[in-house]
Symmetry: C2
Amino acid sequence: MADILSGKEVAQALGERLKEEVEQLKSRGITPGLAIVIVGDRSDSMSYIKGAQKRCGELGIDCRLVQLPENISEKEFISQIHQLNEDKSVHGILVMRPLPTSISEDRVKYEISPLKDVDCFNPVNIAKVMSGDEKGFDPCTPSAVIEILDHYGIDLTGKRAVIVGRSMVVGRPLAMMMLRRNATVTICHTKTVDLAKETSRAEILVAAAGKAKMIKKDMVASGAVVIDVGINFDENGKLCGDVDFDAVKEVAGKITPVPGGVGVVTSTVLAKHVIKACKMQTES
Amino acid sequence: MADILSGKEVAQALGERLKEEVEQLKSRGITPGLAIVIVGDRSDSMSYIKGAQKRCGELGIDCRLVQLPENISEKEFISQIHQLNEDKSVHGILVMRPLPTSISEDRVKYEISPLKDVDCFNPVNIAKVMSGDEKGFDPCTPSAVIEILDHYGIDLTGKRAVIVGRSMVVGRPLAMMMLRRNATVTICHTKTVDLAKETSRAEILVAAAGKAKMIKKDMVASGAVVIDVGINFDENGKLCGDVDFDAVKEVAGKITPVPGGVGVVTSTVLAKHVIKACKMQTES
């Protein structure tokens, strides 16, 4: 029976460290500030935002919601981003995606200051993820995976890591981040011919395919570390991951649950990035 | 005995297509132009430059060498780059690296126009490699690998591709490019624990580690496609790749030689990128 890698425990331990950092900043008269930009009011985004606001509040970070009308022009949207780039009380900017089709993500992503881009929207930061330049900001979800591995002392050096999923928000950046930590990394996806053969080789298996319970017991090596990034609903409308948790926990060595795994760490990682941005902008 | 994948043949076939494209541009009064920027006169760079100049000449591309003094300041270097960005007769800019230590690559890489950045120096293009956005420019060496596979009709979809080496000029971008073509990609490196076990699984094996003849016969599966990106000198001072060619060709299905493999395709790929840049800048 696998050990449970608890996202809650990771978020708590990381939160304690972040609180101290915020206190140090406040003793210098500085309060880290995050602006969350949302266009319209997609309900899934709003629940993420509420979680982020709550977490920032707990950690002493100012969190401002910039809610823009659904029909805003691209030009006006960019102007709002530029105002936040200039605003000295805002150290981090998170743009909720997807944006409405009237705004081209491909154009506006260049407008957010790379120094305030706490969730890796600007290509400058994407390039830094690829080159392993730690002065940039990695995207929050794959960073949460790394936080969990670090918290539980799981060293990646020389390990066979297999990632299922090649998205720009998880799979690809996580591959680069695991490479930076010296794992031998394999990226699988929908076109992989024998997925079970690949996943069975993993010492560390990350499921980030977005398909409910697709990782079955016979796809996991005995003792493997299994990290589940999926957020899906099963046939009964119950929240579940990409991993068939109840079965896989019988063979895995360590496993993250859903809920209570990667997802609950993400907002604390966002706060960590805001504090990092704040320090970079206020230390000279 | 493996079939030889001839870089010369690939360069020739690609060159024929490019010549036609240049003729079409010239019929519209446009001559594609490349500026190669070199600081000082490193002899290894100069031999690459001579090859590129010759190839551009053959294909009808203007190739200008901008040779800057070793002691040029970073500010003056950037000013030279900006002049080339503005110059309408220059469609592609290649900055030879490494630059002298007085010039920070980390700063100047942002200055080259992404539209003229034919060898993927600017992070904007690095991010496009990662996201699979084909409007950017991939780096020339991994592009040459893809050209060879394409020329010989080697489909990557669902294939197990193993890359040895994780550099920013070959391994990492090539991993992203092979992923774009639906391969299942594994990236190995010096910290990989059992390298032979990984390479033996490859249907397509790319050696880009920079270590003479390190890929031995017992590390390669029977029938595998082996692409050798290495450029080294062996114990007798003879040019060789990362693959122990004479032995590996006994087991591989297809293999690139060194010399005469990837290296001879690179300058033609550079020309291809200049023509692509020229078209993007002159079509509206």
